[in-house]
Structure formats: C-alpha cells, structure tokens
C-alpha cells in the first residue's frame, strides 16, 4: 500500500512512450530553463568573435578599471567596464564562456570515455575483471584530485591542454562507479540473456543492449561531471596553476581582480556570476533529464 503516493502519476493506458516523454519534458520547468541557458551560453561561445565589442586581449592603460554601465562612471563604450589592464570586460567574459564550455565538454568526453569503458567492462563481466577495475577505482578515489592536479600542473607547466588532460585523466571515477552499477542492473535483465542465447557477440550485446539502457544515467552523470570540471578548472586557474594569462578564463579573471576587489567588486562579481549561472544551467539540465527519464524515482 506504500505505493499510494505514486498514484497521481498514472497516465491513460496506450500513450506512446515518445509522447509521454515529450509531455514530461515540456512540463519540467527546470529542464527548460537549464536548456535555455545552456543554449544561450553555447551561442555566446560560438559567436564570441562576432558579438564581442572589443578584442579581449587589447590593453588600454588609459582606461583602466572603468566601472560597468550601471555605476556612475560607467560608459557605453565598455558595458561591463574594464579590468586593471584596460581590457573590455564584456569581451573577456564572452570569450571566457568558450574556455569554460570547452573545458566542460572536453573533460566530460575524456573522463566519460575512460570511465564508461571501465564501468561497462566491470559491470558486464563481473568476477576478477570487476574486482580489478573496482580496485583501480578505489585507489583513484583515495587520491585527492585537487592536490594531485595542482602538483602535476605545477611541475609540467600549465596550459589549456594540460588542464584538460589532467582533469580528464583523473575524473573518470564517478563515471566508472555509476556506469558499473547501471550495467550490473541491466545485465541481469532478461533481454540480455536472450541476446546471449541467440549467440550475439559480446561487443554487440554490450553496445547494442546494455549501452542504450544505461544512457539516461550516463547523461545525468556526464552533466554533473561537466559542471564539476568547469568549477575545478576555475579553482585551479584561481590558484594560478590552471589556465595562464592572458587567456580570459573566468577563474583567472577572478584571481587577477582579487587585489582590486574592495573598490571594484564587479571585477569579481561578473565572472563569478557567469560561472554560477553556467554550472546552474548544466545542473538543471542534468536534474531535469533524470526526473524525466525516471519519474518513479523522482527527487
């Protein structure tokens, strides 16, 4: 009788799954907001060279630290003001979106690839292979990511590529754990046994049967990891051991603005808010996808 709570979710029998999905997606405001913001961010990132009013690297020492348009000394020439080297802030923020999105995407893909392959393998084959992979994952989990990333970056020297590689090669653990659990669940289902019985090759079963069914969970964890990667890069850049100047990484912009913080707080507030909004959007999308593909376990 404890399923009484779930009663309001009954749909009329006979509705197509696709229609149900579309209906749920359109009803989920969080998902729509997130997708909207994310689309906006993507457009900004792609069109930055076209819509940025100035060159983000062009210094203009005669016009340093001009406040944004809504403060007294603001001017339309620089809608979001300028930083300590006279660079137009709006342009830097717009270009910064490219960096953050690139990082999020690249790290998500790299760590996702590694983690998903490991997770699928461990979940499908079980036994010793599973034990080995779980052991590797446990070891990786025990190592503090930030410290290791910092240390590696400090010695190798940092750049956009290095940051992407380091984060990508370190952050696959969540993927591995979640995909492994999902694969184990799916593997126990009847249609997998049926596929095995018909003599389908292992590879085909894994990619044909298991993979499509773990896809929703994969997407959700991918968004979480993308968001985390963006925040991590910002933290690394903030500490000076991530993306190097003059690139307009939002985290780096905050670090550079720190000493001017007390009089020109917008220098910190703008990139900080941009980061928060982007991560917020990604999280909304992830939450929304999870709600929409698994309403019974709705959070």
């Amino acid at each position: 009788m404890s399923d009484l709570v779930a009663v309001p979710l009954i749909d009329a029998p006979g509705t197509l799954p696709r229609t149900l999905l579309r209906r749920r997606v359109l009803a989920h405001k969080g998902l729509l907001i997130g997708v909207g913001l994310l689309t906006l961010a993507t457009f900004i990132a792609l069109l930055a060279p076209l819509i940025a009013p100035h060159d983000p690297y062009a210094q203009d020492l005669a016009h340093r630290l001009i406040p944004p348009i809504w403060q007294e000394k603001g001017a339309w020439a620089h809608v979001l003001g300028t930083d300590n080297l006279g660079r137009d802030y709006l342009s830097r923020v717009l270009y910064g979106a490219r960096i953050s999105l690139l990082i999020g995407l690249a790290v998500m893909v790299i760590s996702g690839l590694i983690g998903t392959i490991l997770g699928l393998t461990a979940g499908y084959f079980g036994g010793r292979i599973d034990m080995a992979i779980t052991f590797i994952t446990t070891v990786r989990l025990a190592m503090p990511v930030i410290l290791v990333a910092l240390a590696v970056v400090a010695t190798i020297g940092s750049s956009l590529l290095v940051v992407i590689l380091v984060l990508g090669l370190l952050r696959w653990d969540r993927f591995a754990i979640v995909i492994r659990a999902a694969t184990q669940q799916v593997r126990a289902l009847d249609y997998v046994t049926a596929a095995q019985a018909t003599g389908a090759s292992t590879l085909r079963i894994i990619f044909g049967e298991c993979f499509p069914n773990i896809l929703p969970q994969l997407v959700v964890i991918a968004t979480v990891e993308a968001a985390n990667a963006i925040l991590l890069e910002a933290a690394l850049s903030f500490l000076g051991l991530g993306i190097q100047p003059p690139l307009p990484s939002w985290g780096l912009m905050i670090a550079e603005a720190k000493q001017y913080m007390f009089f020109s707080f917008w220098l910190i507030a703008i990139p900080g808010t941009a980061l928060a909004l982007l991560v917020f959007a990604i999280n909304m999308v992830g939450d929304g996808i999870r709600d929409v593909t698994a309403p019974a376990g709705r959070m």
């Binding site: 930030i146 933290a235 900080g272």
Partner: protein, 305 residues
C-alpha cells in the same frame, strides 16, 4: 563481523600502499627534482651533484622503498622550501585542517538536515522547491567566489570577522561557512530522498495509525532510519574535505594542510607535497574503511559482501 572487518582492513592496506606508490611515481616523474633543488640557473654539474647527493640517481623502486621505510618510521624528510623537518611541519598544520573539516561538516549537517526533512515532509510544495533551489545554488556557486563575497560582506562592510590567518576561533567562522555551504547540498538531497523513502514505508503508516504526534513520527520514527546513509557520507566527506580545503585555506590564509600543500606545490617542494598527498590519501582510505564498517554495523545485511 570480524571476518568482514579483517577483509576490509586488508583491502584498505593494499589500497593505501598502491596509492603511496602512485603518488610517489607521479610526483617524481612529473618533473625533475634535482633541477628543482638546484634552483634557477644552476649548471649541469651542480644538478648532477645534487642528484647524487640526494640519491636521485638510484632506481625508482629503491628510492620508493627507501622513502616508504622512512615514512613508516615517521620520517618524511626535509622540506626544501621551509627548510625544516617535514613531519613536524605537516603535523603542526594538520589540526587546523581537521578542525576546519569537522566544523564545516557540522555546519553543513546543521543546515542540510532540517531543510532536507522540511522538504521531504512537504514534497513538491513551494518549501520543497525552495530547498532544492538552495541546494542547486550551493552546488553551482564556485566556493572561492563565495569566499570572496563573504570576505567583502563580513570583513569589509560589516567589519565583523577576520579574513586572514588562523590565530583565533573567529578566524574559522568564514572558512567554515564557505566549506559547509559547499558540501551541504549533497547532504540535503540525501536527507530529502531518504526521508521521502522512509515516510512512504509501512512502519510510518503504523505510527500514524497509532495516533502519534507529527514531530514524534518525523523525528523518532522516520529520521532515525533515514539518517543511516548520512552517517557514511559524513565520514567520507571528512576525508574529501581534508584534501579539498586547499582553495578555501588559501583564500583565507588559514594555516592548515591545504595551504601548506599550495605553498609547497608552488615552490616545487617535493618532500612536503609528497607527504601531504600521501597523508591525505591515507586518511581518506582509513575514513572510508570506517564508513564501511559503520554501515555494516548499522545494517547487518551488508556484511555478506
């Protein structure tokens, strides 16, 4: 229970050793220590001399075992940058980070448990949506940005709290709030999900049928069962916070392990970096083991695995 404990303990030891090997290798091969030691503009012979002096020309395996042996005896070597005994240095800074981690967790629990319960008792209401919104915002806000905002508000505008250093308890307030706010959302979601599950269970229906008061049902009957997974998460988060406090400690110049790590990394101080990474990893392994055992003790069904 004993067999389970021993098995888990053995696994933990193996993991710890593997981590130490990895940390060792990673740090040794990601840069040349001798060059770092020699400093800027050193000549090739100087670098070679240093290499021989510090035994850096021996095979990696030998170097590792040497380091491991010393470490087990409590000797982490000498700090290149701070010019002092690493062990003393590390254990001097450790309490600060531990306090920060514990305070942050307590703060996080203090805000996330009530909010999680509130959200679960009124699911899909405006209260619930507000709590979820707070959780999402907490997860979206970069912690260093939040730290800077807090500094602006409290230290500058209100002049109420210190923002740098670690001499008094007051110095821990802002860092605790920042870190706590960062880990709270995960707890809140867990409490909420756990409570929603528990509230739908049969024994809660029995409690209602007995005419017990609302608070009694929620607190005595529901929360007691919903908190079980929280305990494990708390222990694990403690381990994570030990390593993840680097950013916060640096922003607030809080003199703990994280700040030490940052300084040593920035100055290529290998012995200290290695010691901190290894120590934090060991803590994490130990705490995860504790969480596993705690879980098994609370729920006998887990002991089979």
């Amino acid at each position: 229970m004993l067999a389970f404990t021993l098995k888990r303990l053995g696994l933990a030891v193996v993991v710890a050793i593997t981590v130490s090997v990895l940390a060792f290798l990673l740090l040794r091969i990601s840069g040349d220590t001798a060059t770092a030691l020699a400093g800027e503009g050193a000549r090739v012979e100087d670098i070679e001399n240093i290499r021989r002096l510090y035994g850096l020309d021996r095979p990696l395996m030998v170097q590792y075992l040497d380091w491991l042996g010393k470490m087990l005896r409590g000797d982490f070597g000498q700090s290149l940058y701070f010019k002092s005994d690493v062990t003393a240095l590390v254990f001097d800074k450790l309490p600060t980070t531990l306090w920060l981690a514990v305070f942050s967790l307590l703060f996080a629990l203090a805000i996330s448990v009530p909010l999680g319960v509130l959200a679960a008792v009124h699911p899909n209401s405006w209260v619930d949506r507000l709590c979820l919104l707070l959780a999402v915002c907490g997860q979206a806000l970069p912690n260093f940005f939040f730290a800077l905002v807090l500094i602006m508000v409290f230290a500058v505008m209100l002049q109420a709290l210190p923002v740098s250093g670690s001499n008094t308890w007051a110095h821990f307030v802002l860092p605790t709030i920042t870190l706590g706010y960062y880990v709270a959302p995960a707890f809140m979601r867990l409490v909420r999900a756990g409570m929603i599950d528990v509230l739908a269970s049969d024994y809660i229906r029995t409690a209602r049928a007995k005419g017990l008061s609302g608070p009694s049902i929620i607190l005595k009957h529901a929360l007691r069962n919903a908190l079980v997974p929280i305990v494990a998460l708390t222990v694990v988060q403690l381990g994570f916070l030990l390593g993840g406090s680097v950013v916060i400690e640096t922003v607030f110049a809080l003199d703990g392990l994280g700040y030490l790590a940052y300084q040593s990394i920035s100055h290529q101080d290998l012995p200290v970096t290695q010691a901190v990474v290894t120590l934090v990893s060991f803590f994490y392994v130990g705490l995860t083991l504790a969480a596993d055992l705690l879980n098994a003790w609370l729920d006998p069904r887990i002991r089979v695995g």
